[in-house]
């Protein structure tokens, strides 16, 4: 059988080991095993490490605040710091990020204030930050929908001849949605400067990956779109950074889209209202805890003599400062203006909304009856 006629069934074929540059023990892998990628400079790795530690502290702090009932919900990215931070670190200032609800620490790494990240999880308006200024789309809830937005934005940038790249974060589960397929395909056909980073944390709420797809790896899906796909150890910040950076560069230089799978693990529950004991073993969680992305990078940096005690203390202090800021912003009472409800729905003013606004204003003034009656009376 000529091999190029049949697309080999891969169901039974074991997934290859993911690309890594630093192994579990914190050692650099052999050049021959590094897939042509080189370790990022030590300052870059140190920068990633710092951001990961700070992000972890933030994540742990927010989860704690959520347990105390200070936030309505919080999807933690604990254990996924290498994917989140490396993805953001690979971007230039003019690039755009299209995150999901899971990616709060990616926003943090791009400079968004804790209070703005957490606004919607506290129950306030979606997000407080300036999307255009930060070049970050609002965190998306309807799964995979934001991937299409990223492709559209990247295409617009290309049409305008800007050197802007869009990067979108997706979950493993989200790749099952039709929108993910359409995004991958549009990107490949239009050669859009976009990078898809799929954080394969092995669960979509309770559903494990083997109930989600029968393919060997998510990266393999790239073949069906004619774009490069990379299967990367998502707990190796060095590898994630190297591969995402290469993809961002390729996109920026007209090379089109890339699909990158970071194999990682969701250590926490899906959100605070989830009960993971119903669908997975503590032993699995413990195993993945032992593969911690921060510890791995730390070991490497220490072995390289690149992480002094002073530096660690400094990072720890920065993390604590952020945690304090985060706690503090939770104590601030958000100012809620009910009349703002009507303000942003349309750019063009609508009479009906003005009427409804007036109705609510009157109701708030304790003058509900007068208000409700106005309309009827005025038209009688």
């Amino acid at each position: 059988m000529s091999l190029n006629v049949e697309s080999t069934p891969l169901t039974a074929v074991l997934a290859p080991p993911p690309l890594r540059l630093i192994d579990d023990s914190g050692n650099a892998v052999l050049d021959s095993e590094s897939g042509g990628f080189v370790l990022p400079p030590i300052e870059t790795l140190l920068g990633l490490y710092r951001q990961m530690v700070v992000a972890r502290r933030f994540d742990v702090q927010v989860t704690a605040l959520t347990r105390q009932g200070r936030l309505a919900t919080y999807p933690s990215a604990l254990g996924q710091e290498a994917c989140e931070i490396a993805a953001v670190a690979a971007l230039a200032p003019q690039d755009w990020l299209f995150p999901t609800y899971r990616d709060s620490i990616a926003l943090l790494a791009r400079g968004v204030e804790p209070k703005d990240i957490l606004a919607s999880f506290r129950g306030d308006w979606h997000s407080g930050y300036d999307y255009q200024q930060h070049r970050i789309a609002p965190q998306a809830t309807p799964l995979a929908t934001q991937a299409l937005h990223a492709v559209g934005l990247a295409t617009a940038a290309k049409l305008k001849r800007d050197d802007t790249v869009a990067l979108t974060l997706l979950g493993d589960g989200a790749t099952s949605e039709g929108d993910a397929h359409e995004a991958f395909n549009f990107a490949a056909v239009w050669q859009a400067p976009v990078v898809f980073v799929v954080q394969n944390n092995q669960f979509a709420i309770s559903v494990p990956l083997d109930k989600q797809m029968a393919c060997r790896t998510i990266a393999d899906k790239a073949i069906g779109y004619g774009m490069p796909g990379f299967y990367v150890d998502g707990n190796d910040a060095a590898a994630m950074y190297a591969v995402v950076s290469a993809a961002v560069d390729r996109a920026r230089n007209g090379g089109g889209p890339t699909l990158i799978e970071g194999l990682t693990y969701r250590i926490e529950a899906h959100t605070n209202s989830d009960d993971p004991t119903r669908y997975r073993k503590t032993a699995d969680v413990d195993l993945w805890r032992s593969r911690d992305p921060i510890e791995r990078l730390e070991k490497y940096l220490i072995a390289q003599g690149a992480l002094s005690n002073d530096e660690r203390a400094d990072i720890a202090a920065a993390a604590e400062t952020l945690a304090a800021t985060t706690r503090e912003c939770m104590t601030e009472q958000a100012v809620v203006d009910p009349l703002e409800l009507f303000e942003h729905v349309y750019a063009t003013p609508r009479t009906a909304l003005a009427e409804q606004r007036a109705f609510l204003a009157a109701e708030l003034d304790g003058d509900a009856e007068a208000s409700a009656g106005e309309n009827e009376k005025s038209t009688r």
Binding site: A72, S176, E340, E369, A372
Partner: protein, 339 residues
């Protein structure tokens, strides 16, 4: 409360229990699966987790992977495969995790589920139940509190129902699963945890019948799903103000029970409909329009709609201003000229 009888089922009659609406739905699916081997259940997280609202709790353990299964994460896929299963004689019960997440399945629902029977001239029926947790008042973040009933009720070929209490939840879901027509089964999220003492299996009024939950002589207040509780509270509060409010729980949104509701409106001469969804183009428009068409000369005043504002469902901190309350309803009623 609609009159209750017990239902014939292989699962036998049980002692009265204090059941939440969610638990009643769970029991309905379970009993249907025991009685009818063609009933299958699938969707996102309905297996070992038992659904994000635990409506399918324990069913995976009881019936196993072949009858209860977690599907890949894709709503068109869930509804589309349910169609194929129904064509082969199964009765799939599928779950859309939240209301807004039924939208990816919109084409499968509107172009196929709703039309299959008609386009095959009655030769292919699709006995599918699509369960959709809907509406707000649970502090949900964006996209988690939509009320999509207007989309489904505007679609010929669909039967759209929404229970407001545990007894109806059980009875209506059993009936929906047994129906040869596809049913959009809308579950009011904020009522999942409301309780009633029930001896299962219970059978309430049949689908397609509205029920007068509380009699009154001055106004007919029409509600369904999450707003039934609000309407009952309004009636209570109205009584204190000397207003006798008749409360109707529609239960089935499509078809509309013109008979029951029309009779009440002709009796009271005044009616109002309460729902969470935005007013413009909402389901209340149909209720007001058809009641007016059919009962115009009995009406002393225009039919009012007390609904959400014409804006996207707001964030938790603002939902209290969005949702109809007894005060707001009574204020609206007081705008009528009472003679």
């Amino acid at each position: 409360m609609s009159p209750q009888q017990t239902l014939e089922t292989g699962t036998g009659v049980r002692a009265p229990e204090n059941l939440t609406l969610a638990a009643a739905l769970n029991a309905a699916i379970r009993d249907a699966m025991v009685d009818d081997p063609t009933v299958v259940l699938f969707g996102e997280d309905v297996g070992p987790l038992g659904g994000v609202f635990r409506v399918t709790d324990g069913l995976y353990a009881e019936f196993g992977e072949t009858r209860v299964s977690d599907s890949p994460l894709a709503e068109a896929g869930i509804v589309g495969t349910a169609i194929g299963m129904a064509m082969y004689g199964l009765r799939p019960v599928v779950e859309m995790q939240f209301d807004a997440f039924s939208y990816p399945a919109f084409q499968q629902i509107v172009s196929h589920v709703a039309k299959m029977r008609n386009r095959t001239r009655g030769k292919v029926s699709l006995p599918i139940v699509i369960r959709i947790p809907y509406a707000g008042d649970i502090g949900g973040v964006e996209h988690h509190s939509d009320s999509s009933e207007a989309y489904w009720t505007a679609t010929p070929g669909l039967t759209v129902v929404s229970p407001s209490n545990p007894a109806d939840a059980y009875s209506m879901l059993r009936e929906a699963i047994a129906s040869d027509d596809p049913v959009i089964f809308m579950e009011p999220k904020s009522r999942y945890w409301s309780k009633a003492s029930l001896a299962l299996p219970v059978q309430t009024e049949p689908l397609n019948r509205a029920v007068v939950l509380r009699e009154g002589s001055d106004v007919t207040l029409i509600a369904y799903g999450p707003t039934v509780k609000t309407a009952l509270a309004t009636a209570e509060q109205g009584l204190a103000e000397g207003l006798s409010i008749e409360v109707i729980d529609l239960r089935t949104l499509s078809p509309f029970d013109d008979e029951t509701v029309g009779a009440s409106v002709r009796k009271t001469g005044r009616a109002a409909i309460v729902h969470e969804a935005a007013q413009f183009g909402g389901y209340g428009a149909e209720v007001a329009a058809r009641l007016t068409e059919r009962n115009f000369f009995y009406l002393a005043a225009p039919i009012l709609r007390i609904t959400g504002f014409d804006i996207p469902y707001p964030s938790p901190k603002l939902e209290e201003y969005f949702l109809p309350t007894p005060d707001r309803i009574l204020a609206a009623l007081s705008t009528w000229e009472w003679s």
